[in-house]
């Protein structure tokens, strides 16, 4: 299979405009003859469903939540980047493009990233028009803040709840189309398989989570906007229900999966407190604007702190190591996420971590409170401070926050071309579900940007190109492929229900997460990855022999839902390990211990690994086949990333 990225010819800045002119259009009267399925109604899905419906297509939208408003996009805190240059501080589309490519450690497609930066400005306009209450200055104009990996202020925000406000904006646009009847919304409905007819994506098989009813849905095209797969690690900042099932099953039907090992570990999360822990909570990156990250300068002091012999307040300034400021004076506490996470891990590995487990570093607001007053800090971060206190029982106005890295985002995902089409014609992937824009590391405030860019401003153009070349005949579920897919889904459910072993889905999930975090997490090695692969394969065998699920398939059965998702996570985990093992370099969130500079920074190998690794499913128990899409950098010079 040859991967065709379909990047338009011409200068970088003109590619998208030219492409928009070149794509085929569907005549307005014909649009209503096409049905489009959108799976997932978070930022990327809701914006796509609403925009496609506005254009006139008939949209069927699916969400496993009880309402589109619950999608995990809602939890994004810090903000959304846009190259508006409202601050007059030297920002531009080109700079946002450059920062994003560099932040991604040169493993993203230039053309995609440039388009993302271009449409970023439209996103802000669109959201404001929808009534999204972004933060404003006293003069009434929009406010910005800084985020990691950038030296300009280009992040738009709504206190610490930007994702919520943007999602509610997209949800409102979607709700409007539901009211018009242009979108038929299926809530509490999970996609369990993709249906391919004559090599084209033509529908999906779903399960109603309340009644257990299995349904077939046909359409001219299918858009997957089902988010990332961070929950492979069990503990992550993802929501409990976030899962990879839709994307994984599309992968098993032929869609290539790109760069699965590129996972982002977010530096500022509330540390793990015990085995019962069910998820990790992010503290927005924006906190690093005003909080200073430090650990005790010596191991001995850290030890005394952990055992309660000394209090934080008693540690004098010269005994504190503000390690990010020390090592990266230019960016200080605002280095990109992968760098900040790795350094926190290094400090803890050195024995200088804090908290009873020693797996945490301080994020200290004392200076900021002294400089600006507690009221100022409260206005900026009040909700985050309150959340921290609720979870930990500690008041961050008085003692520094303790933070530790946690799995947050997955840059990898379904491989898509410039049109966001996967390797299956008619199947598209948007938002975190695809791999396209963030390379090996995503910069803060870029996930919201990408989700909305894809949904509002890319897919409405590019899907038209495909549909215009598809006959506007009604599609039905009559083709035998539908019954076949449905039978497979039913068989899997039956299998899960009938094993009747001893271990719960959560039990397997935790075991998988443990393997992944230890061996395919913040630092990876060839040896560890080989062990991980063997352990995952063993876990998979045990899963299918010893799983315990009670109840039936014809009712709300949350254990059954979980079991099916864990089955997919186990398979995907193995692919992540394979991908991490094959990529003999360190880049962004993928840090192979064998490949680092003397200072411990990621050491890329551009000669051999400047490509997208896209994996093709080869059937059960066969290794996946690697395809490479070479990354061509015509505008950006590949250098060792430096934030010093």
């Amino acid at each position: 299979m040859k991967l065709e990225s379909k990047i338009p010819e011409g200068p970088l800045a003109e590619k998208w405009d030219k492409h928009k002119f070149n794509v085929k259009l569907v005549n307005p009267a014909n649009k209503r003859k096409y049905d489009v399925i959108v799976v997932g109604t978070g930022l990327a899905g809701a914006s796509a469903a609403a925009s496609l419906a506005e254009l006139g297509y008939n949209v069927k939208a699916f969400s496993f939540h009880d309402s589109p408003r619950r999608a995990h996009s809602i939890a994004a805190q810090g903000g959304i980047n846009a190259a508006k240059n409202y601050q007059n501080d030297g920002d531009s589309v080109y700079r946002l493009f450059y920062d994003t490519v560099k932040g991604g450690d040169y493993r993203a497609r230039e053309a995609n990233v440039y388009r993302l930066a271009q449409v970023s400005v439209n996103i802000i306009d669109q959201c404001v028009a929808q009534g999204v209450p972004f933060a404003r200055e006293y003069g009434g104009l929009l406010a910005n803040r800084s985020f990691g990996g950038a030296q300009v202020s280009r992040t738009f925000y709504a206190r610490g709840q930007t994702g919520q406000q943007l999602l509610l904006g997209a949800y409102s646009a979607l709700s409007r189309q539901i009211a018009y009847g242009k979108v038929k919304m299926y809530t509490r409905t999970e996609m369990l398989d993709l249906v391919i007819v004559d090599g084209q994506a033509r529908g999906i098989i779903t399960r109603n989570l309340i009644t257990g009813e299995i349904q077939q849905h046909a359409a001219h095209a299918v858009v997957l906007a089902t988010g990332g797969y961070g929950n492979v690690f069990y503990l992550s900042t993802n929501a409990k229900y976030s899962n990879a099932t839709a994307a994984w099953r599309a992968h098993k039907k032929g869609a290539l999966f790109a760069n699965p090992c590129f996972t982002q570990i977010h530096p500022t999360c509330i540390p793990v407190s015990g085995d019962y822990q069910s998820k990790l909570t992010l503290m927005s990156e924006s906190l690093r604007n005003d909080g200073r990250v430090w650990v005790p300068r010596t191991k001995e002091m850290a030890e005394r702190l952990r055992t309660g012999q000394v209090r934080v307040a008693d540690i004098p300034e010269e005994e504190r190591d503000y390690f990010l400021e020390r090592k990266y004076p230019a960016f200080g506490n605002l280095v990109p996420r992968d760098v900040a996470s790795r350094n926190a891990k290094m400090m803890c590995d050195e024995g200088r971590g804090v908290g009873t487990t020693g797996l945490a570093v301080f994020l200290d607001f004392a200076d900021s409170i002294k400089r600006n007053g507690a009221a100022w800090v409260d206005a900026k971060y009040g909700n985050l401070f309150a959340m921290y206190e609720k979870i930990t029982g500690e008041n961050p106005y008085e003692v520094p926050m303790r933070i530790y890295p946690a799995v947050h985002y997955t840059m990898g995902g379904l491989w898509v071309d410039y049109n966001l089409q996967t390797t299956i014609p008619g199947l598209y992937a948007t938002g975190e579900c695809n791999f396209s824009d963030h390379g090996a590391n995503r910069l803060g405030a870029s996930a919201l940007m990408q989700g909305l860019a894809d949904g509002y401003f890319v897919i409405p153009y590019t899907i038209g190109d495909y549909l215009a070349q598809t006959a506007p005949k009604p599609v039905t579920t009559e083709h035998p492929a539908f019954n076949e897919a449905e039978a497979n889904v039913r068989a899997q459910i039956q299998k899960l229900l009938s094993i009747n072993g001893t271990r719960t889905p959560d039990d397997f999930h935790k075991a998988l997460g443990h393997i992944m975090w230890e061996k395919c997490g913040m630092a990876r090695s060839a040896e560890g990855l080989q062990q991980a692969k063997a352990e995952i394969q063993k876990l998979r065998r045990e899963f299918w022999q010893d799983l315990k699920v009670v109840g039936t398939g014809e009712e709300l059965n949350q254990t059954l839902e979980k079991a099916a998702r864990v089955a997919d996570f186990i398979e995907l985990g193995e692919l992540m390990v394979d991908d991490a093992y094959h990529r003999n370099e360190s880049c962004g969130g993928h840090f192979r211990e064998e490949y680092q500079t003397p200072e411990g920074e990621a050491l890329r190998d551009d000669e051999h690994f400047a490509y997208v690794a896209a994996w093709e499913y080869q059937g059960e128990n066969s290794p996946e086949l690697l395809h490479k899409e070479d990354l061509v950098f015509e505008n950006v010079k590949l250098t060792q990333r430096s934030y010093k």
């Binding site: 914006s47 009880d66 999608a71 669109q126 200055e137 309340i210 015990g274 908290g355």
Partner: protein, 261 residues
């Protein structure tokens, strides 16, 4: 987090949990014991422990709604010890932690109760009525593209902040659950006042409030009698002032709109 109080004693608790097979059957309270519950656990993690126990014993786990577990998605919805989201003010169920309880406590856990929120199973309820209210008008009718520059219309910071405070509603339904009248006014008013405050919401201001209130009534929610339970239990602090704004918007719209229906 480990460290805030490493010596806190684990809790043994009695849970009284509402169990109901599905929408069409009756339910009842069932007693369960949970042991060795860490005080650092969240309430839902405590329920996870219960569910894992039940599952291992071959019993059906308790169904409940939850997702983000960081207080923003609005999925979690438990009526704990007679209070929506439990005893802590300004807290969703998922952000309630076990350090707020004592060893030996008996905790009752019920689903939201309202005619408009039918029970799916156990503690999970159907809140799609809220979606239908939003579909009736909780939006600004702008298509994608063709909108003015974001800074074209300055909005006073105080207005933007006030709109944000209303927009912060997470749609959990605690207001309905806590209200003696099962009224959804706080939810509806949050959206109405957000959009009534912002210049972008002006064009459809009248029809929005008329349509949303009509849908709210159609869904079978009660009428507000200004008791104030909703705002007291709202995990994100939506203020009662929004209901006053809703009333005002409704009155003004009914008096001046061109809608004869």
């Amino acid at each position: 987090m480990a460290g805030s109080n490493p010596n806190a004693k684990p809790l043994n608790l009695t849970l009284k949990v509402w169990r109901q097979k599905n929408r069409n059957t009756n339910g009842q309270m069932v007693d369960y014991q949970v042991r060795d519950i860490s005080q650092e656990m969240s309430f839902l993690e405590m329920l996870d422990v219960l569910n894992e126990d039940l599952l291992r014993k071959g019993e059906e786990p308790v169904a409940f709604d939850h997702d983000c577990r960081e207080g923003i998605c609005g999925s979690c919805n438990l009526f704990i010890n007679g209070r929506a989201h439990g005893p802590e003010p300004g807290t969703t169920t998922c952000q309630l932690h076990m350090r707020k309880f004592n060893d030996g406590d008996t905790i009752t856990i019920e689903p939201w109760r309202a005619e408009a929120f039918p029970v799916n199973k156990d503690l999970s309820v159907d809140r799609s009525a809220f979606d239908r209210i939003i579909q009736a008008g909780g939006y600004v009718s702008v298509n994608t593209g063709g909108v003015p520059d974001a800074n074209e219309i300055p909005i006073p910071k105080s207005i933007a902040d006030q709109a944000f405070d209303a927009a912060t509603c997470i749609g959990c339904g605690a207001c309905v659950a806590a209200c003696k009248n099962a009224s959804a006014m706080l939810f509806v008013s949050a959206k109405v006042s957000q959009l009534a405050l912002l210049p972008q919401g002006q064009v459809e201001r009248k029809q929005r409030v008329e349509n949303m209130v009509a849908q709210m009534d159609k869904e079978g929610f009660g009428a507000c009698t200004n008791i104030g339970s909703c705002a007291a239990e709202c995990p994100v602090g939506i203020s009662l002032e929004n209901i006053a704004i809703l009333n005002r918007e409704f009155l003004a719209a009914k008096a001046t709109s061109n809608n004869l229906a």
